[in-house]
């Protein structure tokens, strides 16, 4: 079997076995799929975990304690070679009944959707590196706390409109290349920003201008159409971070830029830097702090335009660099 397909099947099996696992079998499932010295980085307030035991106690157990019936439900699973690494990139939700407080977020006794993106590096059928993005602000919103005023609509992001995001079918190399070129040309366009007008980025060349959907993280929200995207995300973002830039890609680690079929994934941990010099973003005043940003994007192409874009940002990490402690804020709201 093709190594890429095999890796995607491995990840899907890993999720399936985790979903069926219990307290006693969980460690064994992790041992079956993770390299002994596997390193996992998880967005804030989580950290870096080295080895299976560390990952289990630091992350997995905390999830199962708070959401005992938790299930992983991916809606995009794609793979490819990024630099020297065979990787699989995933978008989806952890769904579970929120029975016990998690990260000081009060349990709701209701189903919760923990939106996530993840990147896996796989070698000899084992996960050697993993990065997880969790939309914690969205979980906090579902628990009843809106800590920041958002411009877009707040809702767990949906599956791809046409339901073909789990790529275990054959794709033509030429289609993947088309997606890759389109997405990267669009990103190049973003970097043409002249600091004055968003028109300088000529984004209308790349998107389904009328119907594109942009599924941003909690705190920003979902937008529709190029104009909706510009008004509700791009303009406020550029106003707050006018000199934002993208890090040079390092082929060995921490970056992914792949395409498969109609889908592309771009990931950096961190990928951007900037300085917080303008107001309005998340309702904040400028703090003049320099910061870096962890971001992971998925796009779906339809014919020659980008139609959907799932975006995760480690918002808590960004806010922390502005000296804003989300969990301290939550505590204030709870009281």
């Amino acid at each position: 079997m093709d190594i890429n397909l095999k890796n995607k099947e491995t990840i899907l099996q890993f999720f399936q076995e985790l979903n069926k696992s219990d307290k006693n079998s969980r460690k064994e499932v992790l041992q079956n799929y993770l390299h002994q010295k596997s390193v996992a980085n998880i967005s804030k307030p989580f950290d870096e975990y080295v080895g299976i035991g560390d990952f289990k106690t630091g992350f997995v157990d905390s999830l199962f304690d708070a959401f005992p019936d938790i299930e992983i439900q991916p809606y995009i699973v794609m793979g490819g070679k990024s630099g020297d690494n065979n990787c699989v990139c995933v978008a989806g939700n952890f769904i579970g009944t929120f029975l016990n407080d998690w990260l000081t977020i009060p349990a709701t006794q209701q189903p919760a959707y923990i939106r996530f993106h993840a990147t896996f590096f796989i070698s000899d059928n084992k996960i050697t590196r993993a990065w997880y993005f969790l939309d914690i602000l969205e979980v906090i919103r579902q628990a009843g706390y809106n800590l920041f005023p958002f411009k877009g609509l707040q809702q767990p992001a949906p599956n791809p409109m046409i339901g073909d995001g789990i790529i275990t079918y054959n794709v033509a190399e030429s289609e993947s290349l088309k997606s890759y070129n389109l997405t990267n040309a669009m990103i190049d366009g973003l970097l043409e920003f002249d600091g004055k007008s968003i028109d300088s980025m000529e984004q209308e060349r790349f998107w389904d201008v009328k119907n594109m959907m942009w599924y941003g993280p909690g705190g920003i929200g979902t937008t529709r159409g190029l104009k909706g995207f510009q008004d509700n995300h791009q303009i406020p973002f550029l106003k707050a971070f006018p000199d934002r830039g993208v890090f040079e890609e390092d082929k060995t680690t921490n970056f992914v830029n792949i395409a498969e079929g109609n889908y592309t994934c771009h990931f950096g941990y961190p990928i951007m830097n900037g300085k917080h010099t303008g107001d309005g973003w998340l309702g904040l005043k400028p703090t003049n702090k320099s910061f870096t940003m962890r971001v992971m994007d998925f796009w779906r192409r339809e014919e020659d335009r980008l139609k959907e874009n799932w975006v995760m940002i480690d918002m808590i990490d960004v806010l922390e660099q502005f000296n804003i402690d989300v969990f301290q804020l939550l505590k204030t709201y709870k009281n």
Binding site: N19, D69, E71, Q73, Y75, N93, I95, G96, T97, T108, Q110, P111, A112, Y113, Q142, G152, L153, Q155, P156, P158, N159, P160, M161, I162, G163, D164, G165, I166, K210, N211, M213, T222, T223, R224, G225, G228
Partner: protein
């Protein structure tokens, strides 16, 4: 346009897929042409409240399509389940999903938000000779009102636009194994029989644990009720409050042609009645209401997805505005009051 296939079910499903595709791609001014290509000129359309029965393409366009597209000019149909089969000798396609659009102008007195809005819908099409002769549209009106910022009723479950099937395989625009569809249909009918065995005292009398993925089932109810997880979540947040409010609820006898429909296709099944059930509003708390003592009928439909022999997901739509009307509660009057308050 339509692929050649001997299987009429598949032909019909493909017809509806291309109908949606053309509707999405068409400029508003040409929508009527698309309707004429796919619908019988005497089409009968029933839409949940506040709409009423519509006859003919002209009225369908003027009374429904045109105002909808004025309010949501970039409206796109995004189904996530689309199945088809026959019932009582008639051919049907049923689909559920969202109409997604930017809410630009007030619709049915709901204030426009200038934000993307998901209009959750189900449509049942009855098809003859490649033309739609009847259609039933369900909208989750309370959810649209919620997305516009007005929570008129307290929900027991969580409020969200329900997701597509976990397995992303709901669009069955191909020939499916008919045994599998039959199996799914039997499973839901056994489950429904269980519901009818309610002894009026305990939900345990319905033996529902035999049919569901008791730990992880998802029940995606209409706004006003919300989404629940697990058999216990379903019982606590929907079934118990519902049975308390309508303890004598039951299935209506058939009084009109095509009042009911049941379809099984692959791992999916569908059950529909317009109306389906009756009840008397004898108990408190459902939607936060006090008992009114009124007799009502309910327009209800369900989609289920089967996984490993058990029901795993259930999408449920109920014409809530219609029920509330029968209880003497006018949702749009309530909304008006809320708008004034703001």
């Amino acid at each position: 346009m339509i692929a050649t296939s001997d299987n009429i079910k598949t032909v019909n499903k493909k017809t509806i897929v291309s109908f949606f595709k053309e509707m999405n791609a068409t400029k508003t001014s040409d929508v009527k042409n698309v309707l004429e290509n796919y619908c019988d000129e005497n089409i009968i359309v029933n839409i949940t409240s506040p709409f009423e029965e519509i006859n003919g393409i002209e009225s369908f366009y003027n009374e429904f399509c045109q105002p909808l597209l004025s309010s949501f000019p970039d409206l796109e149909n995004q189904p996530y389940i689309l199945i088809g089969s026959d019932y009582e000798g008639k051919n049907y396609v049923s689909c559920t999903g969202n109409l997604v659009g930017t809410f630009k102008e007030d619709w049915l007195s709901i204030p426009a938000t200038n934000q993307p809005t998901w209009l959750r819908f189900t449509i049942l099409f009855r098809i003859e000779n490649n033309k739609i002769i009847k259609a039933w549209y369900f909208f989750d009106m309370l959810d649209i009102i919620r997305q516009a910022g007005f929570n008129l009723f307290p929900n027991k479950g969580i409020e969200l636009v329900p997701p597509a099937p976990m397995t992303n395989d709901g669009i069955l625009n191909y020939d499916t194994n008919s045994d599998e569809g039959e199996k799914t249909l039997n499973l839901i009918n056994n489950m429904l029989d269980g519901l009818s065995n309610y002894d009026g005292k305990s939900v345990d009398s319905m033996g529902q644990e035999r049919f569901w993925d008791t730990k992880n089932m998802m029940w995606y109810g209409p706004s006003g009720i919300g989404t629940t997880r697990g058999l216990k979540g379903f019982q606590n947040n929907h079934q118990l409050p519902f049975l308390k409010a309508f303890p004598t609820r039951g299935m209506l006898p058939k009084t009109q042609e095509d009042q009911f429909c049941q379809l099984g296709d692959g791992n999916y099944a569908f059950d529909f009645g317009f109306p389906l059930m009756y009840g008397t509003h004898l108990g408190n708390d459902w939607l936060g209401l006090s008992a009114t003592g009124k007799k009502i009928t309910m327009r209800v439909l369900d989609f289920w997805r089967k996984e490993d022999g058990k029901l795993k997901e259930n999408w449920v739509m109920i014409d809530m505005v219609d029920i509330l009307n029968q209880l003497g509660i006018d949702v749009f009057e309530l909304l008006k009051t809320e708008i004034k308050k703001n």
